[in-house]
Amino acid sequence: MISRQDRNAEIETLIDEYGDDVLRLCFIYTKDYSQAEDLFQEVFIKIYKNIDKFRQDSDVYTWITRIAINTCKDYLKSAWIKRNILFWDVKTEEKETVENDVIKEIERDYILEAVLKLPEKYRVVVYLYYYKGFTTADMSQILNTKESTIRSRLMRAREILRSNLKEGLAYEE
């Protein structure tokens, strides 16, 4: 059992070390910065609660990423999201902040935009493979999915991206 003080110190270290990655992952799933922030907090609350159950035999990054992925998936599965987001990309009123400007700028990036348009299961493999630079074997651990499935998802994701990006080029004429 970890003491309260240790727990507080530990969570701060984890936020410093893995926070950015968790936030990026949440953004990849939700495509919405403010929603990603909310989920980010939920993820670290979960980590905080379960910190003493973490077994040293597995990798911290894998453990945290799994919690993040599951939190995001649960969020996407929630009834409200199912009813609304699937049919219509609801965009909430945006506050005029510098942060939002940056996010808008990022969204304008067409490659990222194309990645965000991918179905959820492809989005996450593209993120882990191309952005985080994991091997498919690592990803198989993190996602608890067969390596072959991950390879085929990557392949499919690339196919979709390629055709979408090509279309994008054609529109730019």
Partner: protein, 683 residues
Amino acid sequence: MRNDKRELDLRRLDEIYISEDLKRRTLLKCKDLNKGGIVMKRRWAAVVMTLVVSIFAFTYVLSYLRQDKDAKDLSYELTQVQSKKEFVSMMNKKLREQSGGIRFFGGRAKEEKALDSSAQPASKEHSNTNVQVEGIDEADIIKTDGKYIYVINFERNELNVYTAEEKPKKVLNLNGEDILGNKEAKEFKGYKRHIGLQDMFLYKNGDRDYLIIMSSVNRYKENPQQPTLKERVIGIMPIYYGEDTTLISVYDVSDIEKVNPVKQYEITGNKLSARLKDGKVYLVTNKGFYYYISELNKNDNLIPYYIEYGQEAIKKEIDASNIRYNKQDIQPNYTIISSIDLINNKISNQVVLGYFENMYMSHESLYLVKTAVNYKEIKQDSSKPNESIAVSVYDENTVIYKFDLEEKVEYKKFTSVKGRIINQFSMDEYDGYFRIATTESINENNKFSTSNNVFVIDKNMNVVGKINNIAPDERIYSTRFVGDKLYMVTFKQVDPLFVIDLKNPREPKILGLLKIPGYSTYLHPYDENTIIGFGMDTGEMEGRVVNKGMKVAIFDISDLNHPKQKDSIEIGGKGTFSESLYNHKALVEYRKYDLYAFDLYETKNDDSFNLEFSGLCLMQIKNGKLDIKAKVTHSKTDSPDAYREPLYGYRAVFVDNLMFVISSRAISVINLDSMKEVYNGNI
């Protein structure tokens, strides 16, 4: 780090990082948890959760076992609508439930192009649209009867007709927007209208020649129903709530100088697919709703309708007795099968609630197919947080509704099988039996995998024979049923071609298989001993399988137990593409010269994705060997702007000893005896 990381640069994500404020808020929330012993309460919650999980998991196993028997799930049965009132209230209820104030987009029919002219042989030998079932034509954007070439140009929304001679002359030009003239149903007075040409059929009846054009019609009112400024700003694109219909126009083109409109019908919904058989056009459309329309307009707009054009345009509702629905799955969208009798100028319609992704038509029946997905969730033991906290499992069933094509289209029966299909070639009817090949996703102990199945279904829609678990962990890339054989390509790393014997419907069996690198996405029967596969070549890169160029292969199936690859060619490098890989109608066969023409976007074979060629590729099969005879382009590939030229627009038809190549900008003619270009002009 990785070579291909350059291709997909996601460094923009670096700009997302946690702010001090977010960190502070998160830490505060965590520390708050310590007050009031929330952590302890959570422990209890964990115990309760485990219990729930085990019950859940148990029911899951039960339902899984039950389904595994291929027992027909009766909940898919269709019921007839009793009255107009019942239908309207059913739809209204569903629309309100589903939209919850937010616009609901009903299914938009997936465009599918291509048909075959089953027309009787004309004076000169010519190619026909590449179709799935012999004698059943599929609509396409280019058709020829040996005398004229009919082409739809999407860029200009035009239909052009050329003479099929060495120096083609344009003899007819029709703009999509003009196709209805001033005619309009009185219900739609005051609406704006856009008409876009889609595809067409040619039909010969005695000495009369007919041209049948399908177009999409969108009507909308410029009034307060249109998107608000806010909606326009946040929306991906402003949606004009309007009415989408499919217009079918029949012209008598026996004398191309004096083209006569014969009949026009307009059917509500977007076109899914169309077929022509024995003087009847079968058109399948799908209609979704925008919620606001049903709120603001009268309920009349919910009723499926069609417009008949004679002297006047008359809007008619489809009788409730022709509407069917599934009680378990009421959807605020519907699919209409219209059959239009070209000889007697009559139309009849059948409506089924719900959205269908695919159709298959044989000489006797029409099958509508949808994928039904059942989600199941398994919660996991939360005392093991380093395992996934929750997984969702879904199983996919393909539900098939059978309609008889006798005097009128009539619903017969349904069945459901496990897994999902890829396209119309996943299905076939032969000798009274319907056959279907599916890929199934399997979840066992949280391990996901796939497996493939073939089902044989009798006239009464009972599964009488099947093979399960073909090529575990792979999925189907293409299938082709030829008589009592099935050729199937599954793929993970290498491409096994399976030969499956369906002679005995009750006992289908795998005869042989061939494993080669790459995969085929379309299989074309050449003769009884030969199948041509169109697909991609693949290679390995850092332990992953990646697509390389396009690959065409000839399979020798004379020994069914030992299929062999006789010859193959690889075209281009990474990024090479042809529409024919996914649209069989983009491939044209001309057996007189054993020629195959398909559009090609070819990249340099050096992983650079740089354009090598964009145009039409002409391939010949001679003595079991593949040979590229010509590549025809209308763009100036050496110019730096070459990639801006139309990429996939190329189509070809063959008449006598000529090949006509048409893109959205130009038309050229190749003499097949000399393999020389004899004409090149703008359209």
